[in-house]
Symmetry: C2
Subunit: 347 residues, 2 copies
């Protein structure tokens, strides 16, 4: 063991993952198709079928604030973000477990509320909760692990994008971040006025729902299956579009050009950015937690899809062209991964 | 949503699980063989094969103290306790994910130390770590989820014990609890002497290892497979022998008689109990964290097993006889589940 003390924020989340990977070595099991590099791990179970396996943690004070996260919403979100990882492999979610760490300040009724949300989401996505572990904790801690299933040939990785593929996203971007801004602002005002304040959240109902109860795009991949469309590469937008574009480009060894004028942005998201006098494109590019799908579509498949179901926001290019954004004014600038980084200094 | 506030310690861990189960309803998926009631959940994957799926959380301040838990040991333990749950279904461990919540006070080197332990345990048990989630947290939080595999007919549940079956355990009991007593005592003395104290832990090396790096009994079930022995019921001893006997009896609808004089106890465990002037049988019955296997063996299989590999500690009986212990003096008394309870008042 080394006596060196390197603070984690010095290497960052992805640097830390690299160090972990070096310690662990490559997966030894020949049934493993893909390990730590994608939205979920993939292993064969025979007869041309694979399972995908993912896990996601939501920790109070890091991922949510109990003051503005109702328990049923938390249950829905914990399931949905894992479904989103399964869907991002083009697989159907099937089984889940939940490890739950409960602070002493929580009631049995709050736990029931949480599970009511879990049940609602499980029913909506066709997931069966089959086990878990419940323990005490100082901060509310929710870790969902989920198994999904697919035919081996249906699985879509991050690594398949090719120069010329269209860069597409479902739904709209930046809404979850706009919702977080509103909730944080509400908390600030409530504290400053010592609670003597009636927040008017109705104009922001959409963006708040995007933050508290995101929807996994299971319907999208079912629609693709019916239309016999399989994108070349696929990832869910959890850390912000720019970060996900970087993931796909690094693993596909290609470049990208994002047209910011094409970014799909909900009017309410725009209204929030205006209110805070911020650039709404930064919400869409770096906001995170939208849980939309980003995919590389071969141009010949464009007509097979319902044009209402996605937006073309750019194109994948040769790696030598780098990862760039075209601004509305027409200028082309490098696009950094940016986005929400865990382990930033002072986090 | 109810406005009632029922503190969790009022209903206890198992009461809470009952309430969760009521909210969730029964599993809808026909491939699920068993849900929340056993060491791991079971689902079929085709061709007569099943996977088992389990998850276990280790949270700083609840399950371990960073002051006396070296990071490699924590990595070993996090893997081993999940392997133990898989083994307790008579299944072979295969794939794992780890969700890791890291406090800012931890270094990259400590995380590497943790994963060195994870790798060591994965290699020892033939597990492949295929994914995870890494995030910040206020307290070090480790949640391992694990998939195991078995032939459908090989799986052993908690529910199969029959009156007349021998009650057997592997290894010895109470050692992990004795190790915890020594570590807590050491911490107390270090605090009182403000660190000016050289602890002599060598005489307690065995029990401390039982607490810090438990061993899952994978070899035992491999030995059973070679000898074509399949117990009627099986559980791992994580909460103390008495608690596990209650689990088997409730699910098998039978009673039990434990002979305390037969409990396998290591000399070092006995020495610790003597030092604290406590009854070593309570360590063995209620101590927990030994991760031995408790199983119900039909009497005709007794000769098929290596007698060195387990101890007969009692017998399963008709449910009407209740769950009882025979003391060394020959008296017979009711045996409560006792053991370590999460969510006890003041925990």
């Amino acid at each position: 063991m080394s006596d060196t003390f390197t603070p984690i924020h010095e290497v960052g989340e992805f640097g830390l993952i690299e160090r972990m990977r070096a310690v662990l070595g490559p997966p030894a099991d020949p049934d493993v198709r893909l390990g730590i590099d994608d939205d979920a791990a993939v292993y064969t179970i025979g007869e041309g079928r694979v399972h995908v396996f993912t896990t996601d943690a939501l920790i109070e004070g890091v991922h949510f604030d109990r003051a503005f996260m109702p328990m049923p919403h938390l249950g829905v979100k914990a399931v949905a973000i894992n479904v989103s990882d399964v869907v991002a492999m083009n697989a159907q979610p099937r089984f889940a477990t939940i490890a739950l760490g409960l602070p002493a300040s929580m009631s049995v009724e709050q736990v029931e509320g949480f599970y009511a949300g879990v049940r609602q989401a499980c029913e909506a996505y066709g997931v069966t909760l089959i086990g878990g572990d419940t323990t005490t904790a100082r901060y509310l801690t929710v870790v969902v692990s989920m198994i999904g299933e697919a035919r081996e040939e249906a699985v879509v990785f991050r690594r398949g994008a090719r120069p010329g593929d269209l860069m597409c996203v479902t739904g709209d971007l930046g809404g979850a971040y706009a919702g977080l801004k509103i909730l944080l602002e509400q908390r600030r005002v409530l504290r400053e006025t010592e609670g003597d304040y009636e927040p008017d959240l109705d104009p922001f109902r959409y963006v708040i729902a995007r933050q508290l109860t995101p929807t996994a795009r299971l319907r999208t991949i079912r629609d693709w299956a019916e239309r016999r469309v399989r994108p070349h590469a696929l990832i869910d937008v959890s850390d912000g579009l720019a970060s996900e574009v970087h993931h796909i480009c690094r693993q596909s060894d290609c470049g990208a050009l994002v047209r910011t004028a094409a970014l799909p942005i909900h009017p309410e998201t725009r209204a929030v950015a205006d209110e805070f006098r911020e650039d709404v494109d930064t919400y869409a590019l770096f906001g995170g937690e939208d849980y939309e799908l980003l995919f590389a579509l071969p141009e010949e498949d464009l007509d097979k899809l319902d044009p209402e179901s996605f937006t073309v926001v750019g194109q994948f290019t040769e790696a030598s062209e780098g990862i760039r954004a075209q601004t509305p004014e027409g200028g082309v600038i490098p696009l950094t991964a940016g986005g929400y980084q865990h382990f930033s200094n002072g986090a």
